[in-house]
């Protein structure tokens, strides 16, 4: 099974989110970078599948040269190959991103070892566009399903499951296919020491790509106004319990 996994380098945001003074992006001077939890799970799922069925996991990212860091993180977890679609660092929209990913998938097929399965996150942590996977699928003419929390292989294809509004749904797809996954599909492992060493030495394939303008243009970012005030402290330790019971009663949840 040849599996491609798409990951995106994004700032790691902690307790608060700080913007650059011009409000154009997240201030990353004090923060590290990571990938979204959905994508961590996509990498883990791909590694587990190839451990079971054989094959290679290729991890792909479109981003600046420093995004190699996220590729190495994935290599440390068991990916065997890494591809950087290198940009000049400017933000890319989902249409152009999907086109560049689809080009790489075709390139791989022409080289004779095309992907059977492409895994992506359901949505990227930063832009939350919810669409790159579907757009890639259309460009390739592959079937696609999103928001998946369970994958199993069937004869000639795969069965993907998710829950929607309390009802479980399954989808049968033929291969090759695009599947976007959500956190919860598995519990990602931590990298092993040998994994880290291997990742450090691994070659990364680099292909330059150039952007195309898109119809959705960011004017600026802002932090939404806080809706709550500082809490009223109703007490300390067990002495607060009578007041807490009174409060629950007042809020109408004791009946």
């Amino acid at each position: 099974m040849e599996i491609g996994v798409c990951v995106k380098r994004v700032p790691m945001v902690g307790g608060t989110i700080v913007l650059t003074p011009d409000g154009q992006e997240v201030d990353t001077r004090m923060s590290g970078f990571t990938i979204s939890p959905h994508e961590e799970c996509a990498v883990e799922e791909a590694v587990r599948i190839t451990e079971r069925l054989g094959g290679t996991v290729s991890v792909l990212t479109l981003g600046p040269a420093v995004a190699a860091e996220q590729l190495r993180d994935a290599l440390a977890l068991g990916a065997g190959r890494a591809v950087l679609l290198e940009t000049d660092g400017a933000g890319w929209g989902p249409i152009a991103t999907a086109a560049a990913i689809a080009d790489e998938v075709r390139r791989r097929a022409e080289a004779g070892s095309g992907y059977d399965l492409l895994l992506l996150g359901n949505e990227a942590a930063d832009t939350g566009d919810y669409q790159v996977g579907v757009r890639v699928a259309h460009l390739l003419g592959w079937p696609c399903v999103t928001g998946i929390k369970h994958i199993e292989f069937t004869e000639g294809g795969l069965r993907a499951g998710r829950e929607y509004r309390g009802v479980s749904e399954t989808f049968d797809l033929s291969l090759p296919a695009v599947v976007t996954v959500k956190e919860g599909i598995n519990l990602p492992r931590y990298p092993s020491l040998p994994g880290r060493l291997r990742a450090k030495r691994a070659q990364i394939e680099v292909y330059p790509v150039s952007p195309a303008p898109e119809g959705l243009r960011t004017q600026g970012l802002r932090v939404p106004a806080a809706t709550r005030q500082q809490a009223r402290i109703i007490g300390t330790g067990v002495e607060a319990v009578p007041a807490l019971v009174g409060l629950l009663d007042e809020l109408g949840v004791l009946s």
Partner: protein
């Protein structure tokens, strides 16, 4: 000329997220009419319902409504009009849609009712979009809404603006919008320039509001011509619903985080949730440690909750956690650390060790006769 809105329903009752989407779509439907294409204007004039569908009063922006009045034929008639697209509409309560300003319901099926096949739904939206000359297509930012709109974006090559909080016209084919980024931690002001504006509406951000002037609803049955390939990926639903009160709809959620200390520490929280008729929700630390399954996670990558009361025990209140619980009506924090962000974000706080406070609370509630 129309604004189309995909409306999801359960047994004929529109889901709340779709009512929110309709509320946001109604602003676009009120105009100003963004296109002056005579062919399209003719279409609008002939389908008189489009005029009734509009609700200029709801634009909430006098300048916008004024623009609409000067904006040519469709504008004079009150904007492009709002139409709903509904799949499997056999049992649909169309009147509710009228109360949200929907003039026309395009009821797809029931023969053949495609069920949920994302690509087939998008193809139907696409053909309706073309036949009515839609200026915008809107869906709720639900799993299905996001998926279908992504397909529609891919089919048409148009951009899709996901998780909008508001959108209004800013000229012909130009939409000025605000949308959520980083799971709602940030807002983005953006311009969407496209012949048809495709957008999803953030599931919790827009309060659903009926229009003060409900309109009569005309239901038009649409029989889609679908390719077999469009139906290749189709949901098979299992009949059984998830049992018990689910996290997303619970009236009371008792939250547990790293402060709970381990998988066994949850017993008192579960007992408390039981007494209050609620459920337990957890932070990501709890799920990534494997103490509880991910289905119980509250937050940006977990479930968004909207209970009456959220009692957050031993949870620091990281921004990604707050993204999932800020829809709670009242938040009560139980935390050892008065400086924890959750204590600042909550309405009420108890400073103390949850291992003492929660069992004592359970005992006190039992004493009051709760079982």
């Amino acid at each position: 000329m129309t604004v189309l809105c995909l409306v999801e329903h359960e047994s004929g009752v529109p889901i709340e997220a779709s009512l929110r989407a309709l509320t946001a779509a109604r602003v676009l439907a009120a105009g100003p009419a963004p296109a002056a294409d005579p062919a399209l204007a003719g279409d609008a004039a002939q389908g008189g319902d489009a005029a009734q569908g509009g609700d200029a009063a709801l634009a909430g922006d006098a300048a916008l409504a004024g623009d609409a009045a000067q904006g040519g034929d469709a504008g004079l008639a009150g904007g492009p009009g709002l139409a709903a697209v509904v799949f499997g509409a056999g049992s649909l309560d169309a009147e509710v849609l009228g109360s949200y300003g929907v003039g026309v319901v395009h009821a797809v099926g029931p023969d053949p009712d495609p069920g949920y096949a994302p690509l087939a739904w998008a193809r139907c939206l696409h053909s309706l979009m073309e036949s009515v000359g839609a200026v915008a297509v809107v869906a709720a930012g639900t799993g299905r809404g996001a998926e279908v709109m992504a397909h529609l974006g891919a089919i048409t090559g148009l951009p899709v603006a996901a998780n909008c909080v508001s959108a209004e016209w800013d000229g012909i084919g130009v939409c000025r919008l605000v949308r959520q980024r980083w799971g709602g931690l940030l807002l983005e002001d953006a311009i969407l320039e496209a012949p048809v504006a495709l957008l999803t509406v953030a599931a919790e951000a827009v309060p659903p509001a009926p229009t003060p002037e409900p309109v009569p609803v005309e239901v038009r049955v649409v029989r889609p011509e679908l390719d077999e390939a469009d139906l290749a990926v189709m949901a098979a639903e299992s009949a059984e619903r998830a049992s018990g009160a689910s996290l997303a709809t619970a009236r009371v959620v008792v939250g547990g985080g790293r402060g709970v200390g381990g998988p066994e520490g949850f017993a008192p929280l579960e007992e408390l949730a039981g007494l209050l008729g609620g459920v337990v929700g957890v932070s990501r630390v709890v799920t990534s440690e494997g103490w509880r399954p991910h289905t119980m996670q509250v937050g940006q990558t977990g479930t968004r909750i909207t209970p009456e009361v959220y009692l957050a025990c031993g949870i620091s209140g990281a921004i990604q956690h707050m993204a999932g619980c800020s829809g709670a009506k009242h938040i009560i924090a139980v935390n050892k650390d008065p400086g924890a962000p959750m204590v600042s974000a909550a309405d009420y706080a108890v400073i103390g060790d949850l291992h003492e406070v929660i069992p004592a609370l359970v005992a006190a509630l039992r004493e009051r006769g709760l079982t």
